[in-house]
Amino acid sequence: MPSGQSLLNEDWELSVLGGMVGTSDFVPSTELDGWATHLLNVARDAYIIKKHHCVYRSALRVHQHDNPSRGLNQNGVDKFYAELARDSSHFLTLGHVRAEAPQIAVQMGENNWVVAYLEPAFDPERPQLNVWVDRMIKLMEVPERAVSTEDIAKVISEIEDQMVARNFENISSLFTHVSPKSSPIAFLLAALRITFVLRKEILGWSEFRDRVEVEIRYNGLDSGKLLRGLTG
């Protein structure tokens, strides 16, 4: 079995999750499908066996190097990401695996490996920058509706806590990743207003303000009035 380190240094790698297996009609090698399915079963067994030992989820990582004619080619990669964008529910989760080393690796063909990663269990006590950001995005990106003042207060309170703790990186990350198109305008205004005093400390504040302005205009609202004072 190759070491995790050597695999992670291959020419390129693609993180995929179990849901891909069996629907991978864009993977040119039928052999790959077979091995991937086998690995998924192995990983699933491993998950069952090890779930009491901090195994959280299993993931498959497909590697290709040296010979782009075998395994996934660029077209396959493009299709894969298109599939992700089209319906992410096919996959256990998105993003790259967090495991440092593969648990299972099977060589298939001369230059390809399929590797199963078993990830550590999610620990809510462990500091993770993105946990707060993810939670905030879920809080802010809600279907368009009339939000209550209490809903707005919740957004303000969460951001204010980060301000008091001086976690400006979190706020900056939120402003980078939250979609103004998917958030009620009142939430966006609240986020801008409460952070206004720290606009020079929060990277990307001005860019976020500009994105909000675009969304306000797109909705036919008076951006000059809604954003008054939010300059400088």
Binding site: S148, T149, E150, D151, I152, A153, V155, I156, S157, E160, M163, V164, R166, F168, I185, A186, L189, A190, R193, I194, F196, V197, L198, E201, D222, K225, L226, R228, G229, L230
Partner: protein, 222 residues
């Protein structure tokens, strides 16, 4: 200009944000913010040193809708949301607000900490607390650069220092160093909050404040 609480109770305010004022005694008025949440209309006011209060709207105040939000209900709702957070975090922010005449124009220090005034004796009055709430959220309702010193304000500051001396002698000593600071009076803050073209300059605010004083004086005699 204002609604008399005896005639129209502020709990009937149908906007998200308003401002309320009452006469406490001769030469002493008190001002607070009204806001609406799902349970009704609340009054938020800095009563004195380390004493921010959030309570149900009371009829002994004259009040008006904050016209600075005229035609912009979204921003008024956001401002009300900020006040809800303030009310929920009592003991976390409110109890730290000291009473004083000078705040250097901000209730936040450069590190982003709330009400972290750098020097002893700095603080807010009931009126400047409201200005800070507006200004910290980029709603500058008063053009403070146009405000000027008035002799009668020094007299008022001396009275406040004497009152503080009885309850908080150490803080009073520090506050006394800021006597002579420019004062924004409660009725002037009301004037700034009910004009539709902020920020309001000193001359316009004092002009409106004269009418406001007449109204709260009349209401206090009912």
């Amino acid at each position: 200009m204002l609604s008399d609480g005896n005639i129209s109770h502020p709990k009937y305010m149908d906007s998200h944000v308003g401002i309320a004022i009452k006469k406490i005694r001769e030469n002493q008025n008190h001002v607070g913010l009204l806001y609406r949440d799902s349970t009704g209309v609340k009054l938020c006011h800095l009563a004195f040193h380390h004493d921010l209060r959030i309570e149900a709207a009371r009829p002994d105040y004259c009040w008006a809708v904050a016209s600075v939000f005229a035609g912009d209900d979204l921003s008024a709702q956001v401002f009300a949301g900020r006040l809800i957070v303030l009310s929920e975090k009592q003991g976390y922010i409110p109890n730290e607000i000291p009473y004083g005449f000078h705040s250097e124009g901000t209730a936040f220090n450069t590190k982003g900490e709330f009400v972290g005034f750098p020097k002893a004796g700095m603080g807010l009055t009931c009126a400047t607390f409201i200005l800070e709430m507006f200004h910290s959220m980029a709603f500058p309702i008063a053009n403070l650069e146009t405000w000027i010193d008035r002799d009668s304000d020094l007299e008022w500051q001396n009275v406040i220092v004497e009152t503080l001396q009885e309850l908080y002698p150490e803080h009073a000593k520090a506050v006394a160093n800021y006597r002579g600071s420019v004062r924004v009076r409660p009725e002037e803050v009301v004037a700034c909050a009910i004009t539709m073209d902020p920020p309001t300059a000193f001359e316009r605010a004092t002009q409106l404040a004269g009418s406001i004083l007449s109204e709260i004086e009349a209401a206090s005699k009912i």
